[in-house]
């Protein structure tokens, strides 16, 4: 499966609709401190079904909706869309292209869509889990993961082997 594009609209610092097209090979992302690079990573985790608000650096899930700035008022919803090339059918969805979308409104209402079809959080989570891209897979690696390997007792490192096994 290949990641085709990511669209972020109202998620954290991405007040305006923003699209990133991933080519083949290695895509680099650079920018100053606080510009939104890790927010981008969290947008991917969120649309794939991340439910731990703490792991998204917030305290309530609404914290991930654009809260306003010096020049802009807060937004009322956050929306992230991830599009995959699925010709090899790595994702258990009978379609050459798979689009996963997640929305959250300030009143707490949530929406999950796969190729435009309204589904539930668990359908999205399972879609990725069945393809080996669940929350314990190495799809997202940050400095915290790197330090955890060393900080932990030998017993705590088991999960690295257990999860993919």
């Amino acid at each position: 499966m290949v990641l085709k594009s990511l669209q972020i609209n109202g998620f954290k610092s991405f007040a305006d609709k923003t699209t990133i097209d991933f080519g083949t090979g290695i895509t680099g992302v650079i920018g100053p401190n606080g510009s939104g690079k890790s927010n981008l990573t969290e947008a991917v985790r969120w649309v794939m079904g991340e439910q731990s608000v703490k792991s998204l650096r917030g305290e309530r899930m609404q914290d991930i909706i654009f809260a306003g700035s010096d020049t802009r008022p807060p937004l009322s919803r956050a929306e992230v869309t991830l599009t995959f090339d699925n010709k090899k059918r790595d994702l258990n969805w009978d379609h050459d292209e798979v689009t996963v979308q997640r929305r959250l409104f300030r009143d707490g209402e949530s929406e999950f869509l796969i190729n435009g079809r309204k589904l539930r959080l668990k359908d999205v989570a399972n879609l990725f889990l069945d393809a080996g891209l669940g929350r314990h897979s190495l799809t997202i690696i940050s400095q915290g993961n790197v330090e955890a390997i060393f900080g932990n007792k030998p017993e705590a490192r088991r999960f690295l082997i257990e999860e993919p096994a």
């Binding site: 499966m1 290949v2 990641l3 954290k12 610092s13 991405f14 007040a15 305006d16 923003t18 699209t19 990133i20 991933f22 080519g23 083949t24 090979g25 290695i26 895509t27 680099g28 992302v29 650079i30 920018g31 100053p32 510009s35 939104g36 890790s38 927010n39 981008l40 990573t41 991917v44 306003g68 700035s69 010096d70 020049t71 802009r72 790595d90 393809a131 080996g132 891209l133 190495l138 799809t139 997202i140 690696i141 940050s142 400095q143 993961n145 790197v146 330090e147 390997i149 060393f150 007792k153 030998p154 017993e155 705590a156 490192r157 088991r158 690295l160 082997i161 257990e162 993919p164 096994a165």
Partner: protein
């Protein structure tokens, strides 16, 4: 389940032993089970010897050496169980320039099987990418993304 754990562990241990000298430009490393008789509860020991150094406790390694050893283990896992895409968020912050270069070269070896998205501040990593995006906040507090010309990486 125990069988799968042991099989997986053995494969990752082989990969780890292979990748380490490539990442460090030399040296040796291995993984060991703290309690091979108890596969259900055993921990995983990391034994690492950077080039030219005597084998010592892992704790005595430098900040950068620990980071590179952990990155090596993660790449060994990816070798055994590839993922279709992988986002790396500034994992190489504590590496010096020589180690960043080896790390970035390594990414290039994997990129046929894994689509990497690398968030980085480091020039060495930027030099190895196929496309580059810059995130900035022209308007304060609002992120915007710009596709950057790969020649631009020479400048920063």
């Amino acid at each position: 389940v125990i069988q799968r754990f042991k099989a997986m562990f053995d494969q990752v241990a082989v990969a780890f032993g292979d990748v380490f000298p490539q990442m460090f430009g030399g040296g040796h490393a291995k993984l060991a089970l703290t309690d091979p008789a108890d596969l259900l509860n055993t921990g995983i020991e990391i034994i690492a010897q950077p080039p030219g150094k005597r084998l010592q406790r892992l704790s005595l390694l430098s900040g950068g050496e620990k980071a590179l050893t952990a990155i090596t283990l993660l790449f060994a896992l990816l070798k055994v169980k590839p993922v279709p895409f992988c986002i790396l968020d500034e994992v190489e912050a504590s590496l010096d320039d020589a180690n960043v270069e080896r790390f970035a070269t390594f990414l290039n070896q994997y990129d046929a099987q894994t689509q990497f998205i690398v968030i980085t501040h480091r020039k060495g990593t930027m030099m190895q990418v196929n496309q580059l995006y810059g995130i900035s906040m022209q308007e304060s507090g609002v992120s915007t993304v710009l596709a950057l010309d790969l020649k631009a990486k020479e400048v920063s």
